[in-house]
């Protein structure tokens, strides 16, 4: 009984810390996106709230919190309320299996705990893929339940887009899974230890560089970001599937979008860029402080991807819908399938150690 209670307490503490960090990162991201986008376009970004506008996320949060929560006439109230939750929860729940730092165990009151991953389940990546698929329901239901043409069109576009690009994400990951021989994110990351030439982007026997490119492009599409932001195309659909949302429900969709961005960045860092592993063999800091280095490297990789999201947004125009579909099915899918084929042959010819 004591053991269960202790484990529960430790897990809850871990969940609280991870959720706190994720939501804090979302806050930072909302500001960082506007700032980076502004700087890239010779603007300043938010400058009014606090010095250099650094308190802008708090102001935005307060504004959204106190805004009137409108349910449009003719909307399906149940689904309209359900959709934001359905969209946010899968985005946050995926962080349960993401390893943020080295897989080491600490002993606390005589029991073993892993401090840097909430739960290292052996189907980690499958779990994330499954839950991110549920996130698409939130978008579609939100679009449909709003009783608005813009929302419906945004939701429909999102449905087609998320389904086609999720396939590519899944197939791009398969190459890495073949090489690592595991679905657990912790094991996959551990397999990439010892210098950047062991990372799966560059790794022998077959570098997963094509899979990496396919994954990054599909991840951008899956999170509905520019240049694949057709579901919310501002210039044609107002705001797409969350046109009719306001107040906290809108904030939920917003949080979900950014949480999804962080999640796909975490997966990309863990699967392709060696997660917490430094690009040089071993660690610089002594043994008992090595975890700091690991966490910092992981954060650096994640933030690189997040910066890439902003960078793409500042650079690229939106794709047309047929271009998006053609690109997904005729270009990305064959590359991902070919990558699986070549990787399997390479993994067969050069079996691990």
């Amino acid at each position: 009984m004591a053991e269960v209670g202790l484990k529960l307490a430790f897990s809850l503490a871990q969940i609280a810390v991870v959720m706190g960090i994720v939501l804090l990162t979302v806050m930072v991201l909302t500001l960082a996106e506007r700032k980076v986008l502004g700087w890239m376009q010779d603007r300043m970004g938010p400058m009014e709230v606090g010095p250099y506008g650094i308190l802008q996320p708090i102001a935005d949060g307060l504004k959204l919190f106190f805004k009137e929560d409108i349910i449009p006439a003719g909307a399906n109230k149940f689904l309209f309320s359900l959709a934001p939750i359905l969209s946010l929860v899968p985005a946050l729940i995926g962080f349960a299996v993401v390893p943020f730092g080295p897989s080491r165990t600490v002993e606390l009151f005589g029991y073993q705990f892993q401090p840097f991953v909430i739960s290292d389940i052996n189907i980690g990546i499958l779990y994330i893929l499954a839950f991110t698929s549920i996130g698409a329901y939130g978008v579609i239901l939100g679009g449909w339940a709003s009783n608005s043409k813009y929302s419906l069109l945004g939701g429909l576009r999102s449905a087609a887009q998320v389904i086609s690009y999720e396939l590519n994400v899944g197939l791009a990951i398969v190459g890495v899974l073949l090489l690592a021989g595991s679905l657990s994110l912790v094991k996959i990351t551990e397999a990439q230890a010892g210098g950047f030439w062991h990372w799966y982007v560059f790794a022998f026997p077959f570098p997963q560089i094509f899979a990496f490119v396919v994954y990054v492009i599909s991840a951008v599409a899956e999170t509905n970001r520019v240049p694949f932001d057709l579901p919310e195309a501002e210039s044609e659909l107002v705001a797409g599937f969350f046109t009719e949302y306001s107040g906290m429900r809108f904030a939920f969709f917003f949080l979900a979008e950014y949480a999804n961005m962080i999640l796909v960045s975490c997966i990309a860092a863990a699967l392709f860029l060696g997660g917490w592993n430094a690009p040089y063999p071993g660690t610089l800091l002594p043994e008992n402080l090595a975890w700091i280095e690991g966490v910092v490297w992981f954060a650096a990789k994640v933030y690189f991807f997040l910066f890439l999201f902003f960078w793409l947004r500042a650079t690229l125009p939106r794709l047309r819908y047929d271009q998006l579909m053609r690109f997904g099915w005729k270009v990305m899918l064959p590359i991902a399938l070919g990558n699986i084929l070549v990787t399997s042959i390479a993994a067969y010819l050069f079996p691990k150690g």
Binding site: G38, W311, L316
Partner: protein, 181 residues
Amino acid sequence: MMKTFNAWLKTIIFYEILIGMKATLGHLLRYKPITLQYPHEKRTLPDSYRGMLALLRYDDGTEKCVGCDLCEAACPSRVIKVISAEVPGEPTKRYSKEYYMDMTRCLFCGLCVDACPVDALGMTREYEWAVYDKRQLRLNKQQLLAIGDRSFPVREKRLELQHPNVAFFNVAFRQMPPKEG
């Protein structure tokens, strides 16, 4: 053959996208914003800036306006309404008894200023005229004179060489180029 290969190579390494991303990154690294933090810093306006309209006075404090109605006639948006009257006790002189400007309609073209024969109208450099109630933008003569007083502290001298009845003609001609010979 080489050409198609190069084109193909450029496609698969996303050459065009990389060019664009290089441009945006260059702007990020050489960050030089063109933004002006408006309420805190304001741009210097050109001398000929066409801002809020104002009625002017001579240096002795008398109004320049002679109530001729030409501004009302020139105005394309019918902003101006002049009610002209004789100066009490001086039957040959007229002035504007009442003068209204509905600034909600004004498009700041400056035709009234051009039309005025005595230069009684001026365009100031005021532009912060946002109000909560648009009725506040219907200005009467006192308000317009007040704007003129605070925007043009240096007033023009009243011309004395001419007969006061024809003074305004000379003022109008003064802007013409001098005659040759």
